[in-house]
């Protein structure tokens, strides 16, 4: 097979690093609002019909949106197998908590309104709250830990050993990142509810959204300061072989140097954090002005900026190790083989545009506010 040599290994690795970001951002800007809506459900909607309206705003789309997460799992497995292996086993109990919460979600959406019993429905409302809030929080906490380095080691056979504990994940910096993640997704979820509902629910969501966008700005800024002051960062000290074999142990790594070096070397990368701030500010301004679509789009751009910031700050690292820095996973030594990256790129180039096209079509078909009367009449809305 010669075809895959068309694109060199180092370029494929960078492409897959970008695609990893695209998929994670895809998850955050689509399923992210579903998570935010779940977390907001008990608060912006206070009676049964209001809650049904809110649930029906995401009712037809959450399943498709959630596939971004499934795809994320699959794509990390295929393109960055060591990242998949280390992060999922290292964060074992945290992953379990996320799964537990995510299991509640599909069932909550579908089953809640099947039985007309207040206890039944209120239990599912809180299940949906957990299903939204817990993954949003833990995913942020996980990112906070990744930025600090995760306590894992690799032996000569590249077997993974994990030194940390579940409670070790809950350190102040990681919790700050967790809160940022919640604020960001609540901002997004609120923007979605405002777009899809009317009346009192929309008003409440707008107020929550304004606060959440201000909190996003504040927490993102605080996160940056804390990253500067308290997080050492890592840098590769051995010569880098960008087309070398995927074996993390072939390099040497020093701690310190911070996660800001990339911005000094490549100032254009500052676009990422700038977009995070500008997006949240614009989201706030648009919410104030009552521009619904603008609010949603700017919150998406803010999320895009914030997640990109994490990626470019750490480049070329994707999962640094605090227990044995040289075991840290980098773009140049944790990918799949040249051939697999190439095949997966071909598949992605063909299918991702198709997915985006039909997703856009489905959103167009479903365009418009959720009709409260239709829910009362039990027509046109399934949940």
């Amino acid at each position: 097979m010669i075809l895959h040599e068309l694109i060199s290994y180092d370029i494929l690795r960078v492409i897959w690093w970008v695609l990893l970001g695209v998929i994670l951002i895809g998850f955050a800007v689509t399923d992210g609002f579903d998570l935010g809506v779940g977390a907001l459900l008990p608060f912006v909607a206070r009676n049964d019909i209001e809650r049904r309206v809110v649930i029906n705003t995401v009712g037809p789309v959450w399943e498709g949106n959630q596939v971004w997460l499934i795809l994320g799992g699959g794509a990390i497995f295929a393109a960055w197998p060591q990242l998949y292996a280390v992060s999922f086993s290292g964060f074992y109990l945290a992953m379990f908590a996320i799964l537990f919460a995510l299991i509640l979600r599909p069932v909550g959406f579908k089953y809640r309104s099947k039985i007309e019993d207040p206890t039944w429905r209120s239990s599912w409302d809180w299940a949906l709250f957990i299903g939204g809030f817990v993954p949003a929080l833990i995913l942020g906490v996980a990112v906070g830990n990744v930025l600090q380095g995760v306590p894992f080691r690799l032996d000569e056979d590249l077997r993974i050993f994990y030194d940390g504990t579940f409670f070790g994940l809950l350190n102040p910096f990681a919790l700050l990142c967790g809160l940022l993640s919640v604020a960001m997704l609540v901002m997004h979820g609120a923007a979605w509810i405002v777009l899809k509902t009317e009346g009192v629910v929309a008003q409440r969501a707008r107020r929550v959204g304004e606060v959440a966008s201000l909190l996003t700005i504040l927490l993102f800024a605080l996160g940056g300061v804390a990253l500067w002051l308290f997080v050492g960062g890592y840098r590769i000290t051995s010569p880098i072989d960008m087309v070398g074999p995927s074996n993390p142990l072939l390099k040497t790594v020093a701690t310190g140097g911070g996660w800001f070096a990339n911005y000094a070397a490549h100032p254009w990368m500052l676009i990422a954090p700038a977009l995070g701030f500008v997006g949240a500010v614009a989201c706030y301004v648009n919410a104030k002005a009552g521009r619904e679509i603008g609010t949603l789009l700017w919150s998406k751009l803010s999320i895009f900026g914030i997640i990109s910031t994490v990626g470019v700050s750490m480049f070329p690292f994707i999962l640094p190790s605090s227990a044995d820095p040289r075991a840290g996973l980098a773009v140049w030594d944790a990918s799949s083989s040249h051939l697999t990256l190439f095949i997966m790129l071909v598949v992605t180039v063909i299918f991702l545009p198709i997915v985006l096209a039909y997703t856009a079509w489905v959103y167009r078909v479903l365009w418009g506010k959720v009709d409260e009367q239709a829910i009362r009449d039990d027509s046109g809305h399934a949940y």
């Binding site: 097979m1 037809p60 789309v61 959450w62 399943e63 959630q66 596939v67 499934i70 795809l71 799992g73 699959g74 794509a75 990390i76 497995f77 295929a78 197998p81 998949y84 292996a85 999922f88 086993s89 074992y92 109990l93 992953m95 379990f96 799964l99 537990f100 995510l102 299991i103 979600r105 599909p106 069932v107 959406f109 579908k110 089953y111 099947k114 000569e156 590249l158 077997r159 993974i160 074999p245 995927s246 074996n247 799949s336 083989s337 051939l339 697999t340 095949i343 997966m344 598949v347 992605t348 299918f351 991702l352 997915v355 039909y358 997703t359 489905v362 078909v365 479903l366 046109g380 399934a382």
Partner: protein
Amino acid sequence: MELDIVSLSRLQFALTALYHFLFVPLTLGLSVLLAIMETVYVMTGRLIWRQMTKFWGTLFGINFVLGVATGIVMEFQFGMNWSYYSHYVGDIFGAPLAIEGLMAFFLEATFVGLFFFGWDRLSKVGHLIATYAVAAGSNFSALWILIANGWMQNPVGSQFNPQTMRMEVADFYEVLFNSVAQAKFVHTVSAGYVAASFFVLGVSAWYMLKGRHIELAKRSMTVAASFGLAASLSVVVLGDESGYLSSEHQKMKLAAIEAMWETEPAPAAFTLFGIPDQAARETRYAIRIPWVMGLIGTRTLTEEIPGIKEQVDLAKLRIEQGIQAFDALQKIRAAGSTTAIPEDVRNAFEENGTRLGYALLLKRYVDDPRTATPEQIEKAAWDTVPMVAPLFWTFRIMVGLGMLFILLSATFFALSSLRKLDRYPWLLKVAVAFIILPWIAIECGWFVAEYGRQPWIIEGVLPTAAAVSDLGVTTVLLTIIGFVAIYTTLLIIELKLMLRAIRKGPEPDDEPEAQLAPAQLVAAE
């Protein structure tokens, strides 16, 4: 079973997979049945077919979400509990999983929303397209998952890379068109079609017995019986194909399923019943049918099927080759750069490299396989024999049920062709009682396929024991309890909602179609 991390991780995987597989077959089959029913509606314009699509669609939805919920766990569990596996084969195994998401699951999950919410927003044909997309998505999804699983059974198109200490893809075409994967795909989706057909048959039979929704029930039974007959035939034929392929690629699994301890002169006899005794390495009280095994396994009268003992001897040989490979691998890694590897070491690895996994079987007994004693090699060779009795029995249950499905669906197919579905109430009762049987067959099938591969997680490449994550016993015990608790709760809720929806019946209730159709037509115009 001891409470070590390997057993617990296997237990958790088995439980979560078996639960997941309670929901998936119905999704696979019902999605296709929905597509058939809605096609009839769009082609004939008869409203009863839309009513059928909506009614079975409601049951489909209740089941579908649990398939989705339990499916997320499957996607993440490899990394969580099987991190060395994920590292070791992610280069090959990850690709079909990612493609599944991109090509199949997106399609299914994006359009399933339109299936439920789109009746008033789409044209007839537009909605039909959404239903087709759901059916196509769920079936393609099965294809990619079984390509991944097929590779675990028959790891083609890949080779070990000493620099990265993992298996890497050498020929993706071989992985894709792996004959084992193709046979498994058709066998598994057919099993899903059987499950859905018997579900529709059983529920409809219940309505007929109760004298409710007769028109809907009769039509549903007609569709389900014909679809079920085709699917039952396909599941047995492709099951046979899988068996035939096992005789080529997984000889040990086949011998264990058949409790064939000794190699017999061709054509071998088939053991219909017997009591396999693992310790004595024999099968007691065997009732045997001459020739049949040889014919099924090799499709000839002359080829032998190697028995368990002969294959253990072969495993011993492979372990010794594996030790050579392991030794060469250590020297290759000590050499540092590729150019510094001595010629004889390179040759030794090229010759024996494919047996490296067999050396890893010794890791249970020694740290360095090169220091293994002949007794340890003997023990490791016997470790390649899975537990015979459970395989022997689950396989027979599965096959027996498969035959029963053909008989039953053929009966209902004949009755519906003769328009005599309501003639024999006892047969309707049988149909209700038998709803659960396809699920028993399916879970047995999963067990035979996966347990029969033990002690390997990747046949001949990586032992299951070497593949686990570095986790604590209590941690995994905790998550097992957590998963079982939530899955069982949700399963009970699901069954309750299913029964409720079935009892409630289709909307509008209890009206014969003759009066219903014109009334609704007027309302629609």
